[in-house]
Symmetry: C2
Subunit: 293 residues, 2 copies
């Protein structure tokens, strides 16, 4: 089978053997935002033509390709959901020469009735859930996802706009004036995490990055790491308070994994790191429920 | 006497009678950022020449003119401080034809040893403290100030970067894509305040503005007001939690006063509104301690 994670800014495709082994892969810049109106079938065919020619007949897609801005909109499936529920909710897309199905995103509501959504991460979480059993999983990033996993299912999750807030606040507030980019400063990051766990609230803590600078207690090259520690510290504190978890399964690329692991350890929880390259395994699990493999 | 509030983006000057009555005033765009190197004496003389010619001999300055980017840096004075302490810490500036003194900003430290600063607001708070007695005061804005006032003194304060965070997050995140500017939407603002008081944390609540839109539960013309309610709600909740106050003295221009009053009432506290035009009265109080009037 062929698995495709087609996001906003990139297309990643995998040729997957029946046992789940990844036989071949490709990573292209052609995210859904670059596809012209009506251009999805041609864009996909161009990407996976060699594998179709080699005899593949089934393609499972996930990611923003199933959003309102994508090829076909796949309505969000309600949690709890695992591979079987997700497989049952996949959407068929007519395509000459192959059977194509689209993985839906997931939605959940918190105790106060406010919805949350994910699209693409559900496939990674399906793979993670199979490895971890009951757990709290964290996929950090622009929009970090924290998900409760039980018996292979995603039962609930929350999104934190941490990465995007960091970008906006570090570049478009007074903090930009006294910060310079450079390598991560672990000590300044740790101070930010400590601060995040104190009283006062995030909006007050942000101004502390300014006052610490004025008092010569935070250097320009430390400001971004301190701010990163503040924001990740607030995210981690809120996520742990909501779940009461003492152990987190963390799947992220090396740099972000190091930051989140450091923040989580400061908060007194155990962390297990996972390779973030989970999509192919998740698509294979869902394909198993479709009896494709 | 002459009182001047010289900030980053404007210069406001007052001719003040010995009893505190404002005899004349001017409001210019010439903030300290527009003044060339060494140009402060000439810029001030140009602004207040008619009043000097009419016989005024004393000028009290406050605001960012006393910052590192201003005319002369006036070191921050430590809280608690009232008119007498502030007057004693004013800095003389040599000036041909008048006695000039510069009001220092204030600094405080919280229980965790993190500093906070204000420059300009101390003068407004001196005026407010004389009117309110023991109170919790709120001066909302780009950098909102919350100050405890006791017997005419400012005993402690905190800054929240709410206005600036609103600007950065509303314009430079995914929320910008689905929001349109327009008149304030009180109902959406109130929903944001409600949300701020629920669990999950600000970084999670921000993403809610996105998901509510995706679920057709927040209109593009409501997004900015919802976000404003979220941020002001988080600020107010944190400030009230820290102080335990049940009554707030609020000094702000009409639009911001309406928003903060609504949020505070939702949080169950009483609010008294004050005219935000407090600088001339504050400068007069400090001048009294200098025995200028």
């Amino acid at each position: 089978m062929i698995g495709v994670d087609w996001g906003t800014s990139s297309l990643r495709a995998y040729r997957i053997a029946p046992d789940g082994a990844v036989l071949d892969r490709l990573d292209k810049a052609g995210g859904i935002m670059t596809v012209p109106e009506g251009g999805f079938p041609a864009a996909l065919r161009e990407a996976i033509a060699p594998w179709l020619a080699a005899g593949e007949t089934r393609v499972l897609l996930c990611g923003m390709v199933g959003s309102r801005q994508g090829w076909v909109e796949a309505p969000y499936l309600r949690c709890p959901a695992g591979p079987a529920e997700i497989a049952a909710a996949t959407i068929p897309i007519p395509f000459e020469g192959a059977e194509i199905r689209l993985v839906p995103g997931l939605t959940t509501e918190d105790a106060d009735g406010i919805p949350d959504v994910m699209r693409g991460e559900e496939t990674k979480l399906v793979a993670l859930a199979e490895r971890t059993g009951t757990a709290l999983a964290c996929l950090p990033g622009t929009h970090s996802k924290w998900a409760r996993l039980e018996q292979g299912c995603i039962t609930h999750f929350t999104t934190h706009m941490t990465g995007e807030a960091f970008g906006a606040l570090s570049a478009h507030t007074i903090l930009a004036r006294t910060s310079v980019e450079g390598p991560d400063q672990p000590e300044a990051f740790a101070r930010g995490v400590v601060r995040a766990r104190q009283q006062g609230g995030l909006l007050h803590h942000l101004f502390g990055a300014r006052t610490l600078h004025l008092m010569d207690r935070l250097k320009p090259e430390e400001t971004r790491s301190f701010l990163s520690g503040l924001l990740i510290g607030h995210e981690v504190t809120a996520a742990l308070a909501e779940t009461g978890a003492r152990h987190v399964e963390l799947a992220a690329a090396a740099r972000l994994a190091a930051l989140y692991e450091a923040a989580l350890i400061q908060c007194g929880v155990q962390v297990r790191r996972h390779d973030p390259d989970l999509v192919a395994a998740g698509l294979h699990h869902i394909a198993r429920s479709l009896q494709w493999v």
